[in-house]
Symmetry: C2
Amino acid sequence: MDAAAVEGAGGPSTQASHVYDRLRDDLLSGKLAPSRKLQMRFLMETYQTGQTPLREALNRLTADGLVEVREQRGFYVRDISRGELAELTKTRCWVESLALRESMAATTPHWEEQLLVAQHRLSRTPRSLNATEFEDNPEWERLHRTFHHTLIGNCGSQSLIAFCNQLADQLYRYRRLSIRKAFPSRHVGDEHLAIANAVMSGNADEAVNLLTAHYQRTADVILQDEAIFPDLRRTQ
Amino acid sequence: MDAAAVEGAGGPSTQASHVYDRLRDDLLSGKLAPSRKLQMRFLMETYQTGQTPLREALNRLTADGLVEVREQRGFYVRDISRGELAELTKTRCWVESLALRESMAATTPHWEEQLLVAQHRLSRTPRSLNATEFEDNPEWERLHRTFHHTLIGNCGSQSLIAFCNQLADQLYRYRRLSIRKAFPSRHVGDEHLAIANAVMSGNADEAVNLLTAHYQRTADVILQDEAIFPDLRRTQ
DNA sequence: CACAAGAATAATTTATAAATTTTTGCCGGA
DNA sequence: TCCGGCAAAAATTTATAAATTATTCTTGTG
């Protein structure tokens, strides 16, 4: 199985896109640790490619907010901080509230069905591959993403959706970085169901409240995780 | 006067940044027309530089929404359409309303003073360099940008501000592309003053209404400009 | 007139070279 | 002896040039 042969239908065919995908995975999973320097030589060896495709990928990732570029002194994995986590969460709550309200204002039977299906599939998939100890389930992550994407997907603005996705990616990295001791105490499935129900019943205020509480709760768990933030008792 | 010697204080020093700035200007001013193909050879000759800095600049501009990249077939100036203009305007109204409300909720004397100064400077600068016929005044554009930036600048979210700036850039291109027959019939100075007054007096609802009306009016003028949109009587 | 093979064009990638930053080592002074 | 500044060396990023690969255009055939 060659890496170049794994192109999905209509998928990207340039090497730059392949490296982009792989780098993105490693960035989101935390394999490439925050604030780490991304040296060209290291990247070329690790991902078996040249500088041009790498440069292309790194520039795109910079736009995604996962990589930072300092002129003349290279690329770095974007650092994390309690302050940024709080700000990203705040912004996501603001913007997705807006997008959800607009989605609901423009509701259609088709959209409600999409949401119903997304919620259903998510509820049927185990969050962890291991019952006793947490082990990331990629399928759950995919469906979770789809569910939240569907919530805001009917708002009628591509650029707003893209911005929400960007925030989601950045926050997803925090989530992956944090050891999930919240599992399995928290019942996120119930939270998703409650949100979907509020949306279907047309209660925008409640839907927004539930959604923002959902995000805030996740952030609070990560904020208390001293394993990823040096415990300085400060916002940094 | 060498090009490399024109570095402003703390300014970027790589060639890629220089090309980025120049390309951005030409994109926003319409010198590079929408949907035009950006061939490497042409760009290298025009901007007197190599492929690597060009590629870097084009990738950044893609993230800004000014350039489009199609895998294996090059870069293109992003096309325009009535539909996109309407959607961008709608999104900007939504998002900046949010940002303005948050800015006002977190108001400080310093911020109000910044706004006062920004409005004052803008009012003192002529919009056109020519009294009879419209001629773009770069200083006015700069101050105009600063004024709107100040309005949302106190919201407390860097990512939200960055998103607003991105939308502003994309819409600025539409504005530049359109022949401004609205000049001098419209009194934008009065509109800015009214917005600033509403903000200072703490009336959030009115400030938001005035701001969105301001953006909507601009979009309406451009939407009626048949010189830039093939008159298909459709949203395209 | 549709279609396919080949030539031309253009984008992508690799390889090489130049410029910049960071590190290292040396010397003088406290 | 220890610290700070200066200079040279090393490492790294950035840029140019050459090679490769993909797409598009042209031409000839069924």
